[in-house]
């Protein structure tokens, strides 16, 4: 009973089309598939002599990064530039926010510079929702918001590029067993992956982690929980590793990186428990020797670099679709 929930899901417009991309949760399967299908031809753009299409010509894309991330910001920047957009990068934790300007003041100022799209990275879960709701409340629906990672909540383009990668190697989602390994508690990537995989009909999604790195009630997201990595990897088609932040060693979540690697690091020996043709994914940047052994990261089953390449195509697809809606 959500008797007083008057808020609308701000990511879909009146026609059920994507107005913003804020999370994968609640998006219909068809929308996810359409994004993946749209991304496919964009992979070819990168192989051309002139790596550009004019879909976003004359549009201004603002990368609003309230939290540092060179990698994600760069892939969004490349994606927008290949669509011929003008890209403006703002690292806000080093500018206005430190002067006390609020998130919405910053948004208003940039909107006044005729932005067409905001790509937002923020340390607080839900920050892109606040921006999207504010734009709607102030009649600026023409500006689209793409969530480039908010707190522990969501990183939808990462989730989508992971789906693109899986489809590329495995074709049929409904035949797969997939394990997500590592710090699910703090991971926006894991949440987006879980929603995407369950929406696309993957019959068994597993999460593998020590109890300190799993959110309470995670099984209600539709996953099977394993605390023993060997058991959890048995027979899987895809292993999705998560990055372990070094600061997790403080705060009594884990005793040491060594012990973590022993129990939850992906080694060739543990990977051998998965299906022989299993693929290994990682959202990057990797901590070799912490969550993944170099022999696996550089081995034949890893598809970590193709993930990066596909990521650009998927982000191009998302931006092109939003601009078209």
């Amino acid at each position: 009973m959500n008797a007083f929930g008057t808020q609308q899901n701000p990511q879909l417009n009146g026609h059920g089309e994507l107005q913003h991309l804020l999370t994968i949760e609640g998006l219909p399967r068809e929308v996810l598939m359409r994004i993946l299908d749209t991304a496919a031809p964009f992979t070819e753009v990168a192989e051309r002599e002139v790596k550009k299409v004019p879909l976003l010509r004359g549009k201004s894309v603002f990368n609003l990064f309230f939290e540092n991330s060179t990698r994600t910001r760069t892939t969004f920047e490349i994606a927008a530039k290949r669509l011929s957009a003008d890209v403006i990068n703002l690292n806000i934790n080093t500018s206005s926010a430190s002067k006390g300007e609020t998130l919405l003041d910053t948004t208003d100022n940039l909107a006044a510079m005729q932005a067409d799209m905001f790509v937002v990275r923020h340390a607080s879960s839900g920050a892109p929702y606040l921006i999207a709701q504010h734009l709607a409340a102030t009649g600026r629906d023409h500006i689209h918001v793409v969530n480039a990672g908010d707190g522990r909540h969501a990183h939808p383009t990462q989730g989508l590029l992971d789906m693109y990668t899986i489809r590329h190697y495995k074709t049929d989602f409904t035949q797969l067993t997939i394990a997500i390994v590592g710090d699910v508690l703090h991971s926006r990537v894991a949440r987006s992956q879980i929603h995407a995989l369950t929406t696309l009909g993957v019959p068994e999604v597993r999460v593998i982690a020590p109890k300190t790195l799993l959110p309470t009630g995670v099984e209600r997201l539709g996953v099977r929980v394993f605390n023993d990595m060997r058991e959890g990897l048995r027979g899987v088609d895809v292993v999705m590793m998560l990055r372990l932040q070094n600061e997790r060693m403080q705060g009594a979540l884990l005793p040491s990186t060594q012990e973590y690697f022993k129990s939850y690091g992906l080694t060739p020996e543990k990977l051998a428990l998965a299906k022989p043709d299993a693929i290994v994914m990682h959202p990057g940047p990797m901590n070799r020797g912490v969550e993944i052994d170099s022999a696996v990261a550089d081995g034949g089953q890893a598809v970590i670099l193709p993930q990066v390449t596909f990521g650009i195509a998927v982000r191009m697809a998302v931006m092109a679709m939003l601009a078209g809606n």
Binding site: M1, N2, F4, T102, S125, Q133, R152, V218, R220
Partner: protein
């Protein structure tokens, strides 16, 4: 000024009365129930046809934001909200700036609040200096200045030895101690109930154990010290069970719940609605059901508004950065009525939880319509609806998860000490 409240349905929970009875008021007091005293001639007749006449509401937690946070609310704005909500008496937590830990501050506040159209204000004094949980305040002096109880607002005393001594010292004078049960370590950085919604939205959780562990400490020390303990804003089913068990074991403990926790749950966070950022957090549906049942049975003694006006800037932030709290003075009566309807509780019992029961916890003679009582009275139309909107709220705080909803009951008149503090017929 002699007032005749005519033709209303009088509900007085203190005497378990529910009857069509007129009420007669003179010199600020009730002088006749049902029949006018000899020679009574009213200067003013208030028509209560179709209305319920009950004692003015007693709210155990209303932040007036003075001193220190006048940009969020002022005494004037919040007293207007209280009167419009039928609240005639309220306790305000000590978390002002400066905190209410010195007699001079308490005197200044009670002096400022002493206007005929203002609700009676009972400051809750700080139990420790600056609410820091380190040294005791001058409780006896603060009591003389007007503090009815001592508490920590939403700040915990981390050092259990200080807590023990604070409770011992308060017990020396038989001063009540009001404490929120929330372990600060388990609640650290948490912004939502540690459950399904927090897991989904990626919000840091506060487990129920934060409440039960703190509650266990408080209850043990209450037994040890004999202090009269009132647990504020209980939020979980397990917490209610513990209070019931403690009471059965002979520990003098009372508790209250806030209107939000009675009606909402973690799901109401929706898409990061900052209005649902509350302390303690909104918990599961099961917890909410236990709170509703517990309040009906009397296991939970009182319902309060936990009124916390916050300005828009404080709420237009990402969920985890937003300020906690919701405005509530004007919602206390409607949400009491809504709860009573939903759990099918007689009004005389439901209204006790916001009148005579909290008055008993405050330790003041109030919340009654007996002849001779101070004329603090609320007259409301139970059939009319109150639409919660920014325009309709008199509180300076427009922050409530109930914005946009229609709730039962609209106040027609509020009398404070026989003074007509609010006249809803003028709207």
């Amino acid at each position: 000024m002699k007032i005749h409240i005519r033709n209303g349905r009088l509900i007085d929970p203190a005497s378990k009365t529910d009857k069509l009875l007129d009420l007669f008021i003179a010199a600020g007091r009730i002088v006749g129930v049902g029949a006018a005293p000899a020679g009574f001639e009213a200067n003013s007749v208030l028509n209560a046809t179709g209305c319920i006449v009950c004692p003015g509401l007693v709210d155990l937690a209303a932040r007036l934001r003075e001193p220190g946070f006048e940009y969020k609310a002022t005494l004037e704005s919040e007293m207007a909200a209280a009167a419009a909500g039928g609240v005639t008496r309220l306790a305000c937590p000590p978390d002002t700036d400066p905190v209410l830990d010195e007699p001079g501050l308490v005197e200044m506040l009670t002096h400022r609040a002493r206007l005929p159209e203002f609700a009676h204000v009972h400051p809750v004094g700080a139990l420790t200096t600056q609410l820091e949980g380190k040294s005791l305040t001058e409780m006896a002096e603060l009591n003389e200045a007007g503090c009815v109880a001592f508490g920590q607002a939403n700040r915990a005393i981390v050092d259990t030895q200080v807590l023990l001594r604070a409770m011992m010292y308060a017990a020396t004078f038989d001063f009540p101690v009001w404490l929120q049960a929330q372990d600060p370590f388990l609640a650290r950085k948490g912004v939502a109930h540690d459950g399904e919604v927090a897991a989904r939205l990626g919000l840091a959780g506060i487990p129920v154990a934060a409440e039960t562990i703190a509650l266990a400490t408080i209850l043990h020390l209450a037994r040890e010290t004999g202090a009269r303990v009132h647990v504020t804003r209980i939020s979980s089913a397990a917490g209610v069970e513990m209070v019931v068990a403690a009471r059965a074991a002979g520990i003098a403990v009372t508790c209250d719940v806030a209107i939000h926790h009675l009606h909402l749950c973690e799901m109401d966070i929706g898409f990061f609605n900052a209005h649902a950022r509350l302390d303690p957090p909104l918990r599961s549906v099961r917890d909410r059901e236990a709170l509703r049942t517990g309040l009906a049975s009397g296991a939970i003694n009182a319902l309060c508004s936990d009124h916390t006006p916050v300005d828009d800037d404080g709420k237009q932030m990402p969920f985890d950065e937003a300020e906690v709290g919701a405005t509530g003075l004007e919602l206390l009566l409607p949400l009491t009525l809504k709860w009573a309807q939903e759990v099918k509780l007689p009004l005389v019992t439901a209204l006790a939880r916001v009148t005579s029961d909290p008055a008993r916890i405050l330790g003041v003679k109030a919340g009654s319509l007996a002849s001779g009582a101070v004329a603090d009275i609320c007259v409301f139309d139970p059939a009319a609806a109150f639409r919660v909107s920014r325009e309709n709220l008199r509180s300076q705080g427009k922050n409530t998860p109930f914005l946009g909803s229609e709730l039962p009951g609209r106040v027609r008149y509020t009398l404070i000490g026989g003074h007509l503090a609010y006249d809803g017929t003028l709207n």
